[in-house]
Symmetry: D2
Amino acid sequence: MRFFSDNAAACHPAVLDALARADRLDTAYDGDAWSKRLDNAFSDVFETEVRALWVTTGTAANCLALAALCPLYGAIVCHRDAHIENDEAGAPGFFTHGAKLMLVEGRGAKVTPQAVEEACARIRPDVHQVQPRALSITNATEYGLTYSVSEVGALGETVRRRALGFHMDGARFANAIAATGASPADVTWRAGVDALSFGFVKNGGMSAEALIFFNTELADETLVRRKRAGHLLSKGRYLAAQLLALLEDDRWLANARAANAAAATLAKAAGDRLALPVEANELFVRMTPEEAARLRSAGFDFYDWAPGEVRLVTSWDQDMAAVGRLAEAIAAL
Amino acid sequence: MRFFSDNAAACHPAVLDALARADRLDTAYDGDAWSKRLDNAFSDVFETEVRALWVTTGTAANCLALAALCPLYGAIVCHRDAHIENDEAGAPGFFTHGAKLMLVEGRGAKVTPQAVEEACARIRPDVHQVQPRALSITNATEYGLTYSVSEVGALGETVRRRALGFHMDGARFANAIAATGASPADVTWRAGVDALSFGFVKNGGMSAEALIFFNTELADETLVRRKRAGHLLSKGRYLAAQLLALLEDDRWLANARAANAAAATLAKAAGDRLALPVEANELFVRMTPEEAARLRSAGFDFYDWAPGEVRLVTSWDQDMAAVGRLAEAIAAL
Amino acid sequence: MRFFSDNAAACHPAVLDALARADRLDTAYDGDAWSKRLDNAFSDVFETEVRALWVTTGTAANCLALAALCPLYGAIVCHRDAHIENDEAGAPGFFTHGAKLMLVEGRGAKVTPQAVEEACARIRPDVHQVQPRALSITNATEYGLTYSVSEVGALGETVRRRALGFHMDGARFANAIAATGASPADVTWRAGVDALSFGFVKNGGMSAEALIFFNTELADETLVRRKRAGHLLSKGRYLAAQLLALLEDDRWLANARAANAAAATLAKAAGDRLALPVEANELFVRMTPEEAARLRSAGFDFYDWAPGEVRLVTSWDQDMAAVGRLAEAIAAL
Amino acid sequence: MRFFSDNAAACHPAVLDALARADRLDTAYDGDAWSKRLDNAFSDVFETEVRALWVTTGTAANCLALAALCPLYGAIVCHRDAHIENDEAGAPGFFTHGAKLMLVEGRGAKVTPQAVEEACARIRPDVHQVQPRALSITNATEYGLTYSVSEVGALGETVRRRALGFHMDGARFANAIAATGASPADVTWRAGVDALSFGFVKNGGMSAEALIFFNTELADETLVRRKRAGHLLSKGRYLAAQLLALLEDDRWLANARAANAAAATLAKAAGDRLALPVEANELFVRMTPEEAARLRSAGFDFYDWAPGEVRLVTSWDQDMAAVGRLAEAIAAL
């Protein structure tokens, strides 16, 4: 009974079905029929014309977006706990050719307009200091918090005033949308976001993520950068097919709702032990090492996050019986 | 009836089966059971202890290998027609951080020891000139020729004498092995090769290629570079499973033999029209634009390669009836 | 009467004399007689065999050193107020090809072993996080504080235990040596430092800085990187001659002592207004904007550092009468 | 009696004088009075508004220009014998972050419109191939040939049609202007050149070269790149002063004329031995090793260029008596 990471879950059956349907000769790279449907499919989701590129990892999606939004001699404002800062092995530095991450603080890995403004204001506008050129936020955050439409909008104001590019790391975008009920359009381009890493792998996909450009002018150059980074798969239809399968019938939303519901069940059981509100599919639960050991010996697997704190992540396919047993076990601690 | 590229073919049924079998929760990234079997599985193929990493493209495999073998201020000797020079959008420059390709000539994209030696001898050993530090050859070549064990061995001698790293781009390694009957060990590490891009996608795979290090000391750093380039997929088991499925029962060899046999049938029909001997699964056939048009109107799809020359590529799943019809059509031109 | 920066001062007369003496045909680049004397001249200063390269800027010296000490996928621990973090336009990212600066706190821009240890301990040893591979400290610091031999030695212990490279940014190394009386050897290689950016331009030079490798194995590769970065001047003798002129008769020490003495005079006058002890040639003095304006209207030029704080920097050639007048003016505030 | 390289000559006396005059406190970096005069001084030379940046090497000037003119995923067309290809240690790859040099052939290192057109035409306009984005020519070439105004203009036509950036490496631009009598404006921006590396070090300077932007929009970004590459010297006035001294009274032209005249004298003596016409200050003279040895034993120093061919380079300060003796010695061979 694993509550370790949504990264490790199985695929949604529709994904495997889609691979089988895509399993015939077609044009190579992204010239196939499936890949060609992506722009339209995502434009429907976002109620505006977007450009949508498949990639195989969130790191690639994030870093291609950052490279498109920030010149190589610029800086990207992000939270100290952002995935791009902590868990991508320096990929932002690689893809952007040395641009800098300018770290800000904020509860639960959330970035505020004040924090962005202060970070920017500290920089002298001269050639000696690296100038802020982009903002990257994660929604839902690395701590499972979500941004409201007005919160993103307020960041969008700062971004506009400071002439920054605006990237959203949506590794768990589906969970955020499912949790807040916000429209995908409202919480992204209408609020000023230029590019979104739209995660599918944590949400029932196998190996395909989507990089969405609302600022469509950035897409063509990114096609070149994707190839140059070795990310243009020759049988791209197998990636596009996964994305289309999860978009169809709003499976991506259903999957996210299932994961969020499992998290909510656990959150209720955890009560005062929660270090942060549970808004999506991640829980940070205070417990002693002995308590954690007790849960583990009962067959539950999860991550030690910090001294006296564990992280639980629920997936789209979480067995609700196991969730119930874990909820009981936590309540009984 | 497409003879366009083996890049566009379907997957071997065993690959889809393997994906279905891998479709359950496991450890993320490359910590899963399938990924952990790769080193051993490829060590068996090569009769020595190797390190094997999955990646999703040949470009990534090639360029991670080059980055491991050549310092960023060095040069990689390769053929003017090499894929790394012509078809990877400058990915070698990206992954190596600016190392240079030093181009040599040679029939059918083959590199000779003399050509390598001459290229190296032209460089003054000072800080003004970029020093050759690696050699990369393609087997089978971009023109469908293969290297014999002794040819690779002779290059290995040059490599040793010049203290170069030695990379083999084996996008069609299976076709080369099937064609020559050479042992995988003899034509690689026993001949001095340090790293091999072992292609599976053109040979029945879906999205997994293997990067093999015979010089196993280079693997750990490459694990970091793979992650840094956004190539560490979170559900890596779906890649490993593809490779294992194609290694099992020597499916990779059977697939390559099928493709080669189809090419041989066409070669026989093409006779004097062949611009180069057909040793693997690619044919370069001289014909007028009118002749090419006639074949196309009969339903055959292929690539115009050069004025008066077309390229035909056969795949592991080529329909032999269609091959027969194309052979007849060519003979009847 | 400028107390703005030692960056803007004139050259020591011996430097111009040396240029005139070097002004004849010699071998180009660094093959000339002056350049060839550098290794020995600096080996004498440091009582061990070193490799010494001229460069034209501290940024180049720092970043070539960092590139030699840290792999491109690693991190360099440094202070949040370090010059490499704040005033080099991202040059560390450029020269190292994307390595990361891992920032620590500490009074007056000084780094402690504890801070380094904590920064390193926060990093999981996996491929997802950028691993610390080097430490860079500045002596004297950006806030004019110096490191004692035992402080550097304690950092050297941490460096050894963590297998880091160890760089010292000595833009004001002369001032630090003059202030502490430490031997150049004791405060560098004997304490574990691998490479030193030894500043001369702020200390009476015109356009030459020295990059000193105590870990001499790193020098040859750096010769290539220097050329590759466009920093191998064709008439290098004019750089080497500057360095030799300032080493001769310990002019570098005399110059630093003069600058430090001027700072000490001002420090005495500033008394309780000092935000930090004055150990070299920089003063951070608390005063209201009105007080600062009063000094400026009396003809003194300096930098507003922070709200209610100004920075004064003294140079090797500071006019002592002006220093006296400024001391009086400060005391009279 | 050295005919080795103009790289190794002494400085013009006016340069040392200018250094002495600049030797007083001024604003640091490029904020000083001398640096601020550069734009106007070079605008006068080129009869249009230009932006002029000092740098310390031709490699830095060339590569900053290339980085401004070519995106990092593009290619720069240049001659196989270009300095950027052969003698800059891969600096173009470093400064451009991996852009590619696309080599063409041509007599005496000259590039023709046909060669550029053919190189561009070979590239498919897709994401797999690196697209040509800039052209770089050297005037005078590495073989001492010059471009006429109409030749550069014809290249400018190609550049416009292909939407390339256009860089001229003018390490010996002065020699070219002195030789052809062309106006600096006609042979550069009026013919379509965007950026010029205007060499001064080979022509009587000490350590300052000029990077001239006719496309002035590129200058601001290049100021950042210059700093990021460690090329923003803190006492920039000593560089600007050199350039101004050589511009004053057209010393740069007088120096170039002197060097060219020396070369012409030698060329006359060499007669049929010349491998190429002598248009500036370089001679490529056919002679046997025995003949070369005879000249050397008579006290003449020069470079063996190729089997049976030596290179002679004359400098602005070449002793005309020595030139006469060498001319006699060559004639007497």
